[in-house]
């Protein structure tokens, strides 16, 4: 809220002596940081950030009250002579508990406009003056004292006024010209012809004050916050009035604000008071709250003398009585946020200043807990992938239905994962797969001129279940573009599916995941993280003895058909070799060239043998011959 310095100084004269920086620091220390300062003609306005629990501070008077308590300086008295009340000129019926007090008056307006000083104050606070004294005075009072009031054109009101719950379906045209259809939970002001205002939110068009208005009926009431909030939300009608009533106005201000409004109209336009009266009364205050000194000391981090606590709370307007080590505290009528002992402890600390809180490390009361295996696994996988040259991405958890459909399993319908109120259609489904997001990110990077794309993401994916979307932490990696070719030793080649297969082995994935071709030369896979082996509990594995005898390596170059299954060939050859001596059998080269017979390729198979003795050549020759025979049984031929 904007606070104008000259008006603030009228409420607390001591504030005039502070420079802007001191004032901002004092306010920040009280919990009201200043977000900006606007220089105005002859004055300044501060943009003060007021938290939602402090409806009482949303005015110049409210901020002045806080400063007065902090600086221990007096507030200026509210300048009003009490208006003498008399008989009700118009009956006012309070038919709902949500409005316990309704102070009003009827005045006959005279000649005159809103004083220039008030107009410039309103302009400074971005509230445009209407030049109608009754309207401007009400606005000025709200900004200055925080109490919303309203002026009706008294001659537009038919008969008695009631504060009552709306009947469902009743309508009201509010001041903004919108026809509102009301519900039974909207509190309204009505005359005998129907609704004339949404209580605490906005007046009605039928009874609004215009330049033709001769007589006004003033309203200065108190409305229960929760109902005002609900009505404001229901009608998307967030006004200065609903903002303050919704956060809790001061019921004791109802009569005072009425009196101030009367005095302004009398001063500004020679208005003649015809009568003033009040329906209802100030509601009973909330029960006092007890504050134990032990609790205060625990919160504050050190003992706070009872007298100091009592003094601080008294400065804030509380009525405090001491009983032993306990204070019994009745909060002032404007503070609805002081409900428990901790609230009071905070007030004592706030006035002392949080800078006085000591700094202490909390003692350990029990053993620290371990990091969860799932968390450690994620850290390990992320680090490994980063070391392998992959870049971790963070993409939105919701995507478009079309993108989602690319990789969602048929038994994972999007309906169960769709948002009711998405930011837009393209962000409407909780994704079943990370691949659509990574594909889009990879393509964007390619468009930006990247030669090689290496991305991964660790994030939840969602599966529709009757109980709601089930989250599964998922790893996806995509790889594409050109590998190598960036230095004199590494030839360039396209990234292939085999590269992703190799990556999956590096990560110890159980089996080969499905490798998707996402675009030309762009591949990816995705696995649920639960599928990965958990980090071992053992720091180092159990020792397994290994042979110290030399190993023997033999290569076989085989001509095989282009359609030959490697798995079948490998299995057949391995079966022909002695399991206890075969260290490794793997294809180390694939050669395809027009010099080979058509329809054939050459595979170079490497065998490594080792045993608990020195292997002799003839023995190994026999094994290799057996392996060759096994390969030949599948149609392979020794390449000359």
């Amino acid at each position: 809220m904007w606070i104008e310095r000259k008006v603030l100084a009228q409420e607390i004269p001591a504030a005039a002596a502070l420079d802007t920086r001191q004032l901002c620091e004092a306010l920040a220390a009280l919990g009201f940081p200043v977000d900006g300062v606007a220089a105005l003609e002859g004055t300044e306005a501060l943009d003060v950030d007021i938290t939602a629990n402090r409806g009482d501070a949303m005015s110049h008077r409210g901020i002045a009250r806080e400063l007065a308590a902090k600086l221990q300086q007096p507030l200026a008295p509210i300048a009003t002579g009490a208006v003498a009340e008399g008989e009700a000129l118009v009956p006012v019926w309070l038919e709902a508990e949500a409005c316990p007090i309704y102070a009003t008056a009827v005045l006959e307006l005279g000649e005159g406009v809103t004083p220039e000083a008030v107009q410039s104050f309103l302009r400074a606070l971005e509230a445009s003056p209407k030049r109608l004294p009754a309207v401007d005075a009400s606005n000025e009072l709200l900004l200055r004292y925080g109490h919303p009031t309203h002026a009706f054109d008294a001659d537009a009101i038919h008969g008695a006024v009631a504060v009552r719950w709306a009947k469902a379906g009743e309508t009201l045209v509010t001041l903004d010209g919108v026809t509102r259809t009301l519900t039974g939970r909207d509190l309204l002001i009505a005359d005998e012809a129907g609704p004339i205002a949404l209580a605490g939110v906005m007046g009605g068009d039928r009874t609004k004050v215009t330049e033709a208005t001769r007589r006004v009926l003033l309203e200065s009431a108190w409305f229960e916050p929760k109902g005002v909030r609900a009505t404001a939300r229901r009608h998307s009608l967030h006004t200065d009035a609903s903002h303050r009533f919704g956060r809790g106005a001061d019921p004791a201000m109802a009569r005072v604000a009425r009196d101030l409004l009367v005095a302004r109209l009398q001063a500004w336009c020679q208005a003649k008071l015809i009568g003033a009266w009040t329906a209802g009364s100030v509601p009973a205050p909330a029960a006092p709250v007890n504050l134990d000194l032990a609790l205060l000391a625990r919160v504050a981090g050190e003992a706070v003398p009872l007298e100091a606590a009592r003094e601080a709370l008294t400065r804030l307007g509380c009525v405090v009585t001491a009983a032993g080590d306990r204070l019994c505290v009745a909060p002032p009528t404007w503070r609805h946020d002081l409900a428990i002992a901790e609230d009071l402890a905070e007030e004592v600390l706030r006035l002392r200043g949080y800078e006085h809180i000591p700094s202490v490390l909390p003692p350990m009361e029990g053993p620290p807990e371990h990091l969860a295996p799932a968390y450690l696994l994620r850290q390990r996988v992320a680090r490994r992938l980063a070391q392998l040259g992959f870049h971790q991405t963070v993409t939105y958890g919701f995507i478009s239905p079309e993108a989602d459909a690319l990789f969602a399993a048929p038994d994972n319908p999007a309906a169960g994962r769709t948002l009711a109120n998405p930011l837009g259609y393209e962000y409407s489904v909780l994704r079943a797969s990370l691949l659509p997001s990574l594909k889009a990110t990879a393509e964007q990077n390619l468009r930006q001129g990247s030669r090689q794309i290496k991305l991964f993401e660790l994030a939840p994916t969602y599966r529709s279940t009757p109980a709601g979307p089930r989250e599964q932490m998922t790893l996806a990696a995509v790889w594409g573009g050109v590998l190598g070719g960036e230095d004199y030793l590494s030839p360039a080649r396209a990234v292939l599916e085999a590269d992703l297969a190799g990556l999956s082995r590096d990560l110890d994935l159980p089996g080969l995941p499905a490798i998707h071709r996402l675009a030309d030369g762009l591949f990816g896979f995705e696995v649920e993280l639960d599928a990965l082996p958990r980090p071992q509990d053992r720091i180092i594995p159990v020792f397994r003895p290994f042979s110290r005898f030399p190993s023997v390596e033999r290569d076989l170059s085989l001509l095989v058909d282009l359609g030959q299954s490697y798995a079948a060939l490998h299995q057949a050859m391995a079966a022909a070799l002695p399991a206890d001596s075969l260290l490794e059998l793997r294809c180390v080269d694939v050669f395809r060239h027009k010099s080979l017979p058509e329809g054939q390729q050459a595979w170079l198979l490497r065998m490594r043998f080792q045993a608990e003795r020195t292997l002799v050549g003839a023995e190994v020759d026999g094994w290799v011959a057996a392996a060759l025979a096994a390969a030949e049984s599948l149609g392979a031929k020794l390449r000359a």
Partner: protein, 356 residues
């Protein structure tokens, strides 16, 4: 003397030094050698034949002349050979010399996402104080996201204009903060809280709010929540922990400042500022000249939050904080646009992320 020798040999002998010098490599030198001193049909063999057939009285003088010539040629060839061999060795050595300035093959180098790095760093900072990591789902219930946190039933944050809800499950939403992890964790540990000796944890994670995408807003962002429950915990413990952690993050000279503020799930509540880590609190664009940067919100756990979880607030107390990761990352890196963190341009990731 020369008149004793055939004129073509005299001529060859005269041009020998130039021919020698013209030999650019050992092959050329071998050819020259063969022509002059080779075993067959060289100038030397021809001279030897000449010597055989020379009159006896000339033999002595001729022999001396021939020997002189041969010696001159052989020495010249030998010296030139040594020269050429040295040059060849030098070239070989040059060829074997590695120029370290030539761009070498480099092992690939990727990067963790800067937001994840920052969260990992926070975990590292809190680990020595006995904090572990708790996590919770991103799809949450209203009970965990709001009710258990003392957030009133009609709080505006619950509105569909602020919070994403699931169409098929109106009671489910995308968590708007990491605080529901507090509720879940407290509910879980409440029965054996005394045996554990309280609890202290961090909850890093992704959260969602219905904000349009612009340079300072994102519908998805990250928070790190911290919580500690024990006996007799007060604001001094919050301040002590944060002072330790923020100094570990920003440097030992970092000052922290607590300012009163309000969050429904804490009482008292505060905002925490750090002395600007970019200018050393001298005043800069990032701290808007104030020397302070707001870094997180915190406070003592509201008794209603403990009570909701089944923990007696008369016996137990604690503190909690919540920190916006993007805000901190943007401040530290002076990244001008929040969207860069979600665009995942490899150049950005490589520059902003790291391996640890």
């Amino acid at each position: 003397m020369d008149q004793l020798l055939p004129p073509e040999i005299v001529e060859a002998g005269r041009t020998f030094p130039a021919a020698l010098a013209a030999c650019g490599d050992l092959d050329a030198l071998l050819r020259l050698k063969a022509a002059f001193v080779g075993r067959e049909s060289s100038h030397a063999t021809r001279l030897m034949e000449l010597l055989k057939t020379a009159p006896k009285e000339q033999k002595r003088e001729l022999g001396a002349a021939i020997n002189g010539l041969k010696q001159q040629w052989e020495e010249g060839l030998k010296a030139r050979q040594a020269e050429l061999e040295a040059a060849k060795r030098k070239l070989g050595a040059l060829a074997a010399t590695w120029d370290p300035a030539l761009p070498p093959p480099q092992p690939p180098r990727g990067a963790l996402h800067p937001l994840n790095r920052l969260m990992d760093r926070l975990v590292d900072v809190f680990r020595p104080m006995g904090f572990h990591v708790e996590e919770g789902p991103e799809v949450e219930t209203e009970a965990h996201n709001f009710d258990g946190l003392n957030i009133p039933e009609d709080h505006p944050a619950k509105a569909s204009s602020d919070t994403f809800y699931l169409a098929a499950h109106p009671e489910l939403l995308l968590r708007t903060h990491t605080s529901p992890v507090q509720v879940r964790t407290l509910l879980r540990v409440a029965p054996d809280l005394a045996a554990r000796g309280g609890i202290r944890f961090l909850a890093p994670g992704r959260v969602y709010r219905k904000d349009e995408i612009d340079p300072t807003h994102s519908p998805m962002f990250h928070q790190v929540e911290g919580m500690l429950v024990g006996h007799g915990i007060g604001m001094q413990h919050l301040k002590g922990t944060l002072e330790y952690a923020l100094r570990a993050l920003f440097g030992p000279d970092t000052e922290i400042r607590l300012r009163p503020s309000y969050f429904p799930f804490v009482e008292p509540g505060c905002e925490v500022d750090v002395s600007c880590p970019l200018c050393g609190a001298k005043g800069c664009r990032v701290c808007k000249g104030s020397g302070w940067v707001e870094i997180l919100g915190a406070g003592l756990i509201h008794p209603n939050v403990l009570t909701y979880a089944g923990i007696d607030p008369h016996e137990w107390s604690g503190w909690a904080f919540g920190m916006g990761v993007e805000r901190m990352a943007m401040m530290l890196s002076q990244t001008p646009d929040l969207r860069l963190f979600f665009e995942n341009d490899q150049r950005f990731l490589k520059a902003m992320g790291g391996l640890d």
